[in-house]
């Protein structure tokens, strides 16, 4: 137990820089095509703008963003590049909009000499944040459709006649797939789950838990009744990772103190955050403490009779399913569109997770078939320590 704690502490210290999970980067654009005039409204969350430009002063951020957006947003037509027109007064070519305290908004008017063969170009932020996504809405000929610009898809050619096609399910599926690939904490959690799988039917439970979690999350998001507190949800994912580590530790060491130590620590943190007047973080930690205590005790006493850990997987999938949902409100999408986007996104995440588990189990079976001896005990100990260390780090750094 002491050795395990030592490994865990070392990992916690070493994990500092490398363990920072990539935060989701989303911006929003609306392109209104009317004759030879294309109106573009671009929204960027304040936190991302400040991180992008490294300037905390709003006036400077706005000024720099205007120049930056002019260079990275354009419209091409049969008549060549459509210039951004001067909007008069002292506005220049980019008009800053007041769109609330959490967003920077800009409006640009492009006028095309020949409005045929229109191509919308958006390369803003992709070179700095490769995983950045721009949720775009194109309004043309009385119809409005949703599209996405990504690092790989920076251009959108508009049809000469007929309706413009909305982004397909595949685009969102790809986003969900990339979302899990690009986040270190999801990888850790999946690795932890692989350590917990012992029987074949547990794989079924695992997949069922993931499906149920994402499904409930999608329905909850589309109902428009709840929104996640994003940083706290991400912190809770860290808590779940650490809880998986504690679960493995309890199983390996058969030490009953695990069920007291980890929840006790969380309770202490909840008190600290309550004293720091962070009520929502305190509530999340308090809930996490009760969940951990109950779950570790149940697992200790009923492990032989029931497989309980997939329940934690369902909780994780439920929270992860809010990943894109949290970024959708500024786009003001209709319910059906939200459902399609979230379904595609969560399905993509689920597909990657399935693939990951399948590859993990396949690799394990391959090693066993080749009669390679894997020190399961060591793997579990190091894995549990890593999960506890990294999970705690993510939890604390995001609270």
């Amino acid at each position: 137990m002491k050795a395990l704690l030592r490994i865990m502490l070392c990992l916690l210290v070493l994990s500092g820089g490398a363990a920072v999970a990539q935060e989701r980067s989303v911006s929003y654009s609306t392109w209104i095509v009317s004759g030879n005039m294309i109106t573009l409204r671009f929204l960027l969350p304040v936190a991302q703008a400040q991180r992008l430009l490294g300037v905390a002063v709003p006036v400077l951020t706005t000024g720099k963003l205007e120049e930056y957006l002019l260079q990275h947003l354009s419209v091409q037509s049969a008549g060549g590049e459509c210039p951004a027109i001067d909007q008069g007064f002292d506005l220049g070519r980019v008009d800053p909009l007041a769109v609330g305290p959490d967003l920077y908004g800009f409006e640009i008017f492009f006028r095309c000499a020949d409005p045929r063969n229109l191509v919308l170009r958006n390369s803003a932020l992709f070179e700095r944040i490769p995983a950045h996504v721009n949720l775009a809405r194109i309004q043309m000929r009385g119809r409005s459709v949703e599209q996405i610009f990504t690092g790989q898809h920076r251009e959108l050619a508009l049809p000469e006649s007929g309706a413009i096609a909305a982004a397909g399910l595949g685009s969102y599926l790809r986003l969900g797939f990339l979302h899990v690939i690009s986040t270190a904490d999801r990888w850790c959690l999946l690795l932890g789950l692989l350590l917990l799988v012992r029987r074949r039917r547990e794989l079924g439970y695992l997949m069922l838990a993931l499906v149920c979690g994402y499904l409930v999350s999608t329905l909850a998001s589309v109902s428009d009744r709840v929104l996640p507190r994003t940083s706290l949800v991400e912190a809770f994912v860290g808590l779940l990772i650490a809880l998986l580590g504690a679960l493995i530790t309890q199983r390996e060491t058969r030490n009953p103190r695990v069920a007291i130590a980890w929840p006790g620590l969380l309770l202490l943190l909840a008190i600290v955050f309550a004293l720091l007047r962070a009520p929502w973080a305190a509530l999340a930690l308090l809930g996490g403490s009760a969940l951990s205590a109950g779950f570790l005790m149940l697992s200790r006493d009923f492990e032989a009779r029931a497989t309980l850990w997939p329940f934690l997987v369902a909780v994780f999938a439920f929270l992860d399913g809010f990943g894109l949902a949290a970024a959708l409100p500024p786009a003001q999408l209709p319910e059906a569109t939200q459902l399609r986007i979230l379904f595609g996104f969560n399905l993509g995440a689920l597909l990657f997770e399935t693939l990951f588990v399948a590859l993990g189990i396949g690799g394990w079976l391959l090693l066993r078939a080749r009669r390679l001896q894997i020190p399961r005990g060591l793997l579990n100990d190091v894995g549990a320590a890593g999960l506890c260390g990294l999970g705690s780090f993510w939890m604390l750094s995001r609270l």
């Binding site: 007064f89 909009l97 996640p228 809770f236 930690l285 009760a290 969940l291 005790m297």
Partner: protein, 306 residues
Amino acid sequence: MTRVVRIFLYRPQRALMLPALAVFVGLLVAGFGLLRPAPRPLLVVPPGYVALINQKGILLSDFRSQVETETSKSFADATPTERARVLREMINEELLVQRGMVLDLPETTTEVRSNMAIGVNTQVAAPVLAYEPTDAELRAFYDKTRDKYTAPGAMTLQDLVLHVGGYQNADQSLSQALADAAEAVYQLRSGAAVDYVMVHFGFMRSGRAADGEELDFAVKLHLGDKLYQVATTLHDGEVSEPVLDWDGVHILLMQRHQFPKVADFTAVRDRVYLDFRTAATNRATEENLKLLRSQADILVAPGQSQ
């Protein structure tokens, strides 16, 4: 004892139910921390409103008064067409206001900024202006600001000047000129004719005084500060002492001096009333600004002052 209670009191059920309850409660509590209710858009116009534009409402009371203002009829008498027209106009206006807010006009356009500032001041002054002062309060205000209610004075005077060392008498020194002027003053006060004195001592009309009556401010403007100060002390028929100015030695002859006088309260009550309200408005504006400043976080760049 009910079965539910027994579950929590005895093993082995307790060993299962208590942790399960902890998990449930934990999830519930964490859920409150992790999730928040999404803002629900209004899908129907709430009572008291006549329309919702991008979730912003137009009050029914505003609509009624706007209809009455535009049609000069009571709301009940206005036709459905008239009401529809007014509502359309109000919706258009709301759309333009919302667009103005999105374009951040209060921050970027001078006219909008000044109108907003006026609007705030008017709102702050509204309760003050609603109060009707009593005569006693007005009189007290009048007594405190009596100087403001003086009727302007007027003068009819002559200004004679004896140029020193001019072409009339190039050898005349300043002391000689002052002595001559003193003698001239003596003779004028003794009843000598002005024309005689002018010829005898070489005085001329300075051209600074008008032929007839002039209001005080005009006299001051024409004579200059130094001579005006002397003139204000003279009564009807008095002759001033010689006054040395940049163009020579002057003598002022006051023919008629109507001194400024404080107007009676009853004569200027309306003015006092307006001034009282203006002063109250200014006080309210200043107090409001004082409060706003006390609550604001104002940083001034080094080298600048306010």
